[in-house]
């Protein structure tokens, strides 16, 4: 894969290419944990959602939660990936206080999902296809809390055993922008599928970022892994910083040490966590408490038949059926709720206008207040009604924006609001003529000027709109002015 020069990073010795691969950990949306019946609810009191299995009491055994298997298969299908009808759970052995069993149950050699791909639209307009190497199911660990006691750490096992999907990309990403777009797209697919809520603030989605640099055309450089980055913005920052750090080392004649690093968002930099020499020997082996996970193709086909329409298909349909630009379509489909809102507004109306309103007015206003579209104060029905009022020329575009604001803050039926507040457009020619006559009479010099310079008509339009409170039909004002001023 060649990298367009715009993505290269300039160094003292020439251009560098950054190579990125991501391991995204996505919490499976399910009521119970991967191998126990304990709740996965977020935010319970410490150790409120812990079963005997999660606490690794003697003699406790894991039993697979079929809902998690279903979600992993559905995710695999959403990533156009191969579903493995037989997969194996392994034990990854290491000691840590928040890992009660002394091993994490994961899938090492035989994951449930194999190779797939994700098509990503990068903001610069390019479209890249990112390879997925695998998706596997594994248990989350608990949480160690170090700041509650001078010499002891506390352990909260609420997350211990919660199901995660680890989605491993190929090292196909070539810039922080691509990486951010990839995670955004992945998150969008997961949310469409309902297999992960994608809530990065709650830790439902986090990424280990593998970064290396090389001169274009050279073999891959030594990589560093930045662990547990928990926002898309931080992923971008971590890559930018790490690539620059590696380039600086190499250009000064040094070499990169393969190691695990942490990203410090406060300082915007990565720092060393442990080197390869300190790396654990995890002693993976098949978990003898669990049989290999097996299902048939009919099971997969059944799940496939009930998948929702995913962002790529929806985007293609929007572009085709609503004649939208690729950009508008991809913005609208990024969130399933946005796409559904748009479709409701666009139904039987001018799709382009609907798209503009949803993308600009609505999304802008939602972002300003940090609101989700699902809790938008203006419903799709209300926005549709506003569009109808514009379309039938009951109100002007400008009034429509004011009306939107009123509906946003006060609610109510837009049509009734227009009636009640007298927002109707003035199309009565006699009334407009009277306003024009008054203004022309009061400004004879301007009227004279307009004959020489027709652009001055704009000033008159503004005056008329002002005295009509914005309600005069702009087209009617223009036509009448031209006649009165003799242009």
């Amino acid at each position: 894969m060649s990298t367009s020069t715009s993505k290269l990073i300039r160094g003292a010795t020439g251009d560098w290419e950054v190579v990125i691969g991501l391991e995204v950990h996505a919490q499976v949306t399910s009521h119970a944990k991967l191998f126990s019946g304990a709740s996965t609810e977020f935010g319970g009191a410490p150790n409120a959602h812990v079963s005997l299995v999660d606490a690794a009491m003697p003699g406790m055994l894991p039993v697979i939660n079929e809902e998690c298997v279903k979600q992993a298969v559905r995710t695999g299908l959403g990533l156009n990936a191969r579903i493995n009808l037989r997969s194996v759970f392994d034990r990854k052995n290491y000691f840590y206080p928040d890992l009660p069993q002394g091993y994490q149950i994961s899938q090492f050699k035989s994951p449930i999902v194999g190779e797939g791909e994700v098509v990503v639209d990068v903001p610069d307009g390019e479209t890249v296809t990112i390879g997925i190497e695998r998706l596997h199911l594994e248990q989350d660990a608990g949480k160690s809390i170090h700041d509650q006691h001078p010499s002891m750490s506390y352990v909260d096992l609420n997350r211990s055993g919660v199901a995660l999907m680890e989605i491993v990309s190929r090292p196909d990403l070539r810039s922080s922008e691509e990486a951010k777009a990839y995670v955004t797209k992945l998150r969008s697919i997961l949310r469409y599928l309902g297999t992960c809520d994608g809530d990065m603030e709650k830790g439902s989605l986090r990424a280990d970022v593998n970064v290396s640099v090389r001169k274009p055309g050279d073999p891959l450089g030594t990589r560093c892994e930045i662990k547990n980055v928990n926002s898309i913005r931080f992923i971008g920052q971590a890559i930018e910083h790490e690539a620059r750090r590696q380039i600086d080392i190499l250009e000064e004649g040094g070499s990169i040490v393969q190691e695990t690093r942490l990203f410090d968002p406060d300082r915007g930099e990565t720092r060393s966590m442990r080197s390869k020499e300190e790396a654990h020997d995890y002693r993976y082996f098949p978990d003898p408490d669990l049989l290999p996970l097996e299902f048939d193709q009919a099971y997969v086909d059944e799940l496939k038949a009930h998948l929702p329409e995913l962002p790529d298909d929806k985007k293609a349909r929007f572009a085709r059926d609503f004649a939208l630009s690729g950009y508008d379509a991809s913005v609208l489909v990024a969130e399933r709720a946005t796409a559904e809102f748009f479709e409701a507004v666009a139904k039987g109306r001018d799709a382009k206008a609907a798209a503009n309103w949803v993308i600009n007015e609505l999304t802008g206003r939602l972002n300003k207040e940090g609101k989700e579209i699902s809790s938008s104060p203006v419903s799709s029905g209300q926005l549709g009604a506003i569009l109808d009022l514009v379309h039938e020329q009951t109100i002007s575009g400008k009034i429509a924006k004011d009306l939107f604001e009123i509906v946003w803050t006060e609610g109510g039926d837009p049509r009734a609001l227009v009636e009640a507040r007298g927002l109707k457009q003035v199309t009565d020619v006699g009334a407009i003529e009277r306003m024009i006559d008054e203004i022309v009479a009061a400004n004879p010099d301007k009227a004279l000027q307009a004959k020489e310079k027709p652009a001055v008509i704009g000033w008159f339009v503004g005056q008329v709109m002002k005295s009509s409170g914005g309600k005069a039909n702009p087209q009617a004002v223009n036509d009448l002015l031209k006649r009165k001023l003799g242009i």
């Binding site: 005997l52 606490a55 690794a56 009491m57 003697p58 003699g59 406790m60 055994l61 894991p62 039993v63 697979i64 034990r91 052995n93 000691f95 206080p97 009660p100 069993q101 002394g102 091993y103 750490s153 352990v155 020997d281 002693r283 993976y284 082996f285 003898p288 408490d289 669990l290 049989l291």
Partner: protein, 491 residues
């Protein structure tokens, strides 16, 4: 009271039903015998209060006519089974005074059927051992002695306490677990019957794990019939154990006394090992002759990979154990020895909490799973395991119904006699039993005679998967011919 403790389980069942005595009387007789037999160190915890309460409840159910199949039968439970609010330690210091908030599925099944808990029995620490000498509570002394000798002998292991308790009439039956022979070898050493069921027949839920792919619970009793009665209650599908098999539990007792006419019994030639005492060879032939006399056909069979079973077993079992025992880390329960930091705490806790044999196996297991060694050891051992399994399948497919082998390569040995210098000497005890665990098959040990020093010797019968019934029928034929064996009380 001695008459009550020397009853068979089946006789006690009849006596209770006929109200010849009460469950409370039966329990009291056993509790008194246990108290007198403390020198054997068979029990690590006696639970007289719980026994009395359970016996009283059993009597009430008998009176009401709602008695279960094991109503009022007093049993000993290996300390590997979690018993709710009753100390459960796997005979390791690392569990300290751990008292589980849950009951193992196997014991839950026994209580469901009306059985009474007498106490928890001694075992090798985490079931790792073949002599019961690795227990944190000290060794169990076998109720058996060599003719004219006071040398204390081992009862075998790891379920040595359960075997000794049953042999010494300190319980009508007991539970054991068998990972490489831990039921069959002590049964053989103490002259009683013990069966390791097919892997997946009894739930492993709530039983402290040693090697998950090999561990299986099973009963001990003084007769084949008694063992069959207990087996029916212990067995059954459990959705909490993913390796448990959902197949109906037959009436095993009905198989006891059933004709074995026409059954084909394989005699595996690879079990004729170098240095095996002549007495054992003779006993083996005698066993075959008894089966033949009862109408079975004997055929020599070949299990060519037998010689690799023991080394492969001592890779697979420690590998799984090294991981299973990682949870004993001092963080949540059991022993904690403070250290400088968390790693120091782990090291001190585990060094102090585990005995030398457990530490050895954790180290072996950690080694064979390590990067660079996994393929050479663990993976190869698993391949060997597949071949061992296939050896048996080939024989069964050729029409063999079961196999007859010696249970152990020797009779019981003296405490401290074996394995001091070389642990492998101890591991060799499992040579006839580990193949069965590696293949996941059922195997029963049944007493068949005594050696020149008057110590009991057992034979082993190995069956097809989930054909425990054939084993009960065949073992009963041997029992009828050989009789039963009881140690003379010296304690």
């Amino acid at each position: 009271m001695d008459e009550l403790t020397s009853l068979t389980l089946a006789q006690a069942r009849t006596g209770l039903a006929k109200k010849d005595f009460t469950a409370v009387e039966l329990a009291d007789a056993h509790l008194a015998a246990m108290e007198r037999a403390r020198a054997l160190n068979a029990y690590v915890l006696e639970t007289p209060e719980r026994a009395s309460a359970m016996a009283k409840a059993a009597d009430a159910r008998i009176a009401k006519g709602t008695a279960g199949p094991l109503e009022g039968i007093p049993l000993a439970i290996k300390d590997l089974f979690a018993t709710e609010n009753v100390r459960t330690t796997a005979c390791s210091k690392i569990l300290g005074d751990f008292s589980p908030a849950y009951e193992s599925s196997v014991t839950e099944n026994l209580w469901r059927d009306g059985a009474v808990l007498l106490g928890k029995t001694n075992n090798d620490e985490f079931a790792m051992g073949s002599s019961n000498e690795t227990s944190a509570f000290g060794p169990v002394i076998s109720p058996w002695r060599r003719k004219g000798s006071n040398t204390p002998l081992v009862p075998g292991g790891s379920s040595g306490g359960s075997a000794a308790a049953v042999a010494a009439n300190l319980a009508l039956g007991a539970t054991g677990t068998d990972t490489g022979g831990s039921i069959r070898q002590p049964a053989s050493f103490t002259g009683i019957v013990g069966i390791k069921p097919t892997y997946g027949r009894c739930s492993r839920w709530g039983t402290v794990a040693f090697a998950s792919s090999l561990d299986q619970a099973g009963p001990f009793a003084r007769t084949v019939r008694d063992t069959a009665i207990l087996m029916r209650s212990m067995a059954g599908y459990d959705e909490k154990d993913a390796t448990s098999v959902d197949t109906p539990v037959p009436d095993y007792e009905a198989a006891v006394g059933k004709s074995i006419k026409g059954m084909r019994i394989g005699i595996p030639k690879q079990y004729r090992i170098d240095g095996m005492p002549a007495e054992i060879e003779t006993l083996w032939q005698q066993g075959g002759a008894w089966l033949k006399a009862a109408g079975a056909e004997l055929v020599e069979v070949s299990l060519p990979h037998t010689k690799y079973a023991l080394p492969a077993y001592y890779i697979v079992a420690p590998a799984e154990a090294s991981s299973n025992l990682a949870r004993y880390d001092g963080v949540r329960y059991g022993l904690r020895v403070p250290g400088q930091d968390v790693n120091g705490m782990y090291e001190k806790t585990r060094a102090e909490g585990f005995g030398p044999e457990v530490r050895r196996r954790i180290m072996i297991g950690t080694y064979v799973l390590s990067a660079g060694y996994y393929d050479a050891y663990y993976l190869r051992a698993q391949q060997v395991r597949t071949l061992i399994k296939k050896d048996f399948e080939d024989c069964f497919n050729a029409g063999v119904d079961a196999m007859l082998t010696p249970a152990t390569p020797s009779a019981a040995f003296g405490i401290g006699e074996k394995g001091k210098a070389d642990p492998v000497e101890m591991y060799l005890n499992d040579v006839f039993t580990v193949t069965v665990n590696m293949a996941g098959l059922p195997g029963i040990a049944v007493p068949a005679g005594v050696d020149g020093q008057g110590l009991p010797l057992g034979l082993q019968l190995i069956g097809r998967p989930f054909d425990e019934e054939a084993l009960f029928s065949l073992a009963h034929v041997i029992e009828k011919a050989a009789g039963t064996f009881h140690p003379k009380s010296w304690w």
